[in-house]
Symmetry: C2
Subunit: 464 residues, 2 copies
């Protein structure tokens, strides 16, 4: 006890965000708001363990190995090797797929679920890159087939959320929608049907916003040596991008016509080609989804054929969401439709559609811009001060009564001046003064207006 | 695509609980309820990262090495060795201590915080033992000193929570309180002042419920060879336990007198001893805390001197909470006062008091007893059915209107019979029928009573 203690001064861990209470209160408001809207639309919550078996993650077959954190017991022994290795989940889609397969017989379809958990990416520390962060996802899964109307429900929910988060009032956001069948059908109509080539072009198009219209196809040039095919791809993709740009300029009513320029282009320029039915399907689906969203504010949702998402599993509708004034910040909310969620884990055909809010990244941006409505360090509506030891029972009972209706911090004593300073620093909006002696009145002070009035704890209410 | 896919059939991971949606809805109710009560008392929330640096955990110096999960990047390289090793936190006390030290200048004291996060124990798989589970903690920290009244606030909050969790209505629980100063002061008065010996006796007493009155001191016999000292300990601890038992039988008003049998015993049996002031302090503190809780139901709180908690850092009040009919299940909610929370991380004196609900263990017990009010697989209050394609716009608008007030799932079509079956299986309490053609009325069916009436979506309300 008498020896000098070693002080281990802690510091933040790169990529693992942590907020002081005033910021955390707003983060809770955000999470509550998102949950409330998800539930308004009838989505149920699930929570999966933080870990999955490494084999389950690997079964999904994506190139995520480098981003995975695996767990080891600090005192691991030989027996540990006999057990499945566990890894922290890096998204909520793999856990959802595994969950649906595992609990298939206990779920009711269409299965509408939301999930708001932390996910982890085992990346090297980098400024601004999170290694632990919240995602807020909704997905609908059905057996065998899922109506397209769910594809339209997703952006409506997201718009409702993002346009009313505290601190987001001045942010202009835009949901950009496309349908992968359009690109796939377009390419197939032109004879480009090798899955690897299609995947490569998809990945290139996904980066057009970042890399630019002139350079985005460079990886295609590096990979494909057939001059004729390269010319075809270059020519067609230029037209594809041009039509996509055109969509942004024409009135929504004329956009279907603009989309039909795609098959028209093929018929005119490559008359020997056969239009792939996927192309027409994709145009129709995009049109239906878009037209279901006309109740949203003008510009809230646009059709943008350059949206394809880099990941491989989407098969139809795809979404991205950007800050209109800073699209280069990247998508803050993305998703799409997939044909087969859990085919790696169960022999059922389970199509779905989902969308994911990159919560922590969005929250941190608004925080860094100083737009969060911070100020309160406490959920208390009222601080009841402790006048003196004789009146402790009265003060305690007062707090008890007020607590039936409000959040109340009871001060446990100290100099009155210090009690008041604490309430003020915590940002508690009302201070309650129990009487200093029997027979006197209670008083309550509104810290915003400075007004102080006599009051009865049994019937006093906060003016909203 | 055509090759036969390998199906990786997933199975539960031992120790990582996961619930189906109907159980998860009740778990959310529990978490919401606990949060609401914590906030009612003015506790603010913090959330710390899932990980701490291994050195931070090690600085706390407890014997937890074997229970820690450390993280490794799956594709770790040489550079990883240069960085601090990260480990999943195994409780919320170490993170709180680190947090308070790190953010000391941004916190307002007394710092009242609650924390409801998952914690991890890297144990070997065992039936019934969780490796990932929720804890729900409150603590109050102050600089230099903290009024004893906070020690009384903790059990009041816990009682309010545990006595009103859905499904706990029929459980008799009891909060058992003691004060470590009583044991420490009792032993010191008798000349037993070696910290190792005191710690050993404390750990033994902690196990008396499990091991029994006759055997609990066995480790003391194994460790101490001095016959005279052994006789002293045996004799005194028998008296200590006897007085503790006596407390349970006498009227609360007479308990202070019963507690004073401890110094009386010393004076009578060991007249040459000097009563250690800790003993008197402890008796007074326990009395004050207990007397602040007399508004709770009879038997809700008892004084029990055999409660000491095994962990080393408590210095005063200690709490345990048991099922009255099954105390052998162990404590479901424990805590106490500590002199110095963050001394390993900052050169400040920060006393505190806190309590922790072992959430997952408690929840799972009530679940296994079949007492949870499960039944709903959806948060929806109302399912709006889709009568036919022509009325889609009307149904969508109806859902939109009802959603201003309620949680609403809009069915996206299919045979009416199947839509109804889905609503029923999900346990949605009301089904809304938009008209099958223009000009007809809306109807709504109460699934519990079977009543079906015409209704207007703009003004219909659920009878509570």
């Amino acid at each position: 006890m008498s020896e000098k203690k070693k002080i281990y001064k802690p510091s933040p861990i790169s990529g693992f965000p942590e907020w002081t209470p005033d910021v955390r209160i707003v983060e809770q408001q955000w999470l509550d708001h998102i949950r409330r809207v998800f539930e308004r639309y009838g989505y149920c919550n699930i929570e999966t363990p933080s870990v999955e078996e490494l084999d389950v993650i690997a079964a999904k077959g994506e190139d995520v190995d480098k981003e995975i954190y695996v767990l080891e017991r600090l005192q691991a022994d030989e027996d540990d090797k006999k057990e499945a290795r566990l890894a922290l989940h890096f998204d909520q889609t793999v856990p959802l797929a595994r969950y649906v397969a595992q609990h298939f017989n206990d779920l009711i379809f269409p299965f509408k679920r939301y999930q708001m958990q932390k996910v982890w990416r085992g990346e090297r520390p980098q400024a601004g890159r999170f290694r632990e962060f919240y995602q807020c996802d909704i997905d609908v899964i059905n057996v065998d087939n899922l109506p397209l109307h769910f594809d339209a429900e997703m952006p409506a929910i997201i718009w409702e959320i993002l346009s009313s988060l505290p601190g987001m009032e001045n942010e202009q956001i835009q949901i950009r929608i496309s349908n992968r069948k359009i690109l796939f059908g377009f390419l197939k109509s032109l004879g480009i049907s090798d899955p690897d080539e299609i995947a490569l072009i998809t990945r290139c198009l996904d980066k057009i916003e970042k890399i630019g219209q002139n350079e985005f196809l460079k990886p295609v040039f590096d990979a494909i040596t057939d001059k004729k095919k390269l010319d075809l791809i270059t020519n067609c993709m230029a037209e594809y991008v041009a039509i996509s740009r055109k969509l942004l300029d024409v009135h929504p009513q004329d956009q279907k016509k603009a989309l039909n320029l795609l098959p028209l282009f093929i018929k005119e320029q490559y008359p020997e080609s056969q239009i792939d039915p996927q192309l027409i399907d994709g145009i129709d689906e995009l049109d239906t989804v878009y037209n279901s969203l006309t109740h949203l504010r003008k510009g809230a949702v646009i059709r943008d054929l350059t949206i394809v998402r880099g990941l491989d599993y989407y098969t139809g509708t795809v979404y991205e969401t950007v800050f209109t004034e800073d699209p280069s910040y990247g998508s803050i909310c993305s998703g799409g439709r997939y044909d087969d969620l859990a085919g790696n884990y169960i022999n059922k055909h389970l199509p779905g559609v989902g969308i994911s809010i990159g919560f922590s990244r969005l929250f941190d941006r608004i925080r860094q811009k100083g737009q969060l409505p911070v100020g309160k360090h406490s959920p208390a509506d009222i601080m009841v001060v402790m006048p003196n030891e004789e009146m402790r029972a009265v003060a305690t009972q007062t707090a008890h009564i007020l607590r039936q209706r409000y959040n109340v911090e009871l001060s446990h004593g100290g100099k009155l001046k210090k009690q008041l300073a604490t309430a003020e620093k915590k940002g508690i909006p009302y201070i309650w003064f129990p009487p200093f002696e029997d027979g006197l009145d209670h008083e309550v002070k509104n810290m915003k207006t400075g007004d102080q009035v006599t009051a009865n704890p049994n019937d006093w209410t906060i003016d909203e």
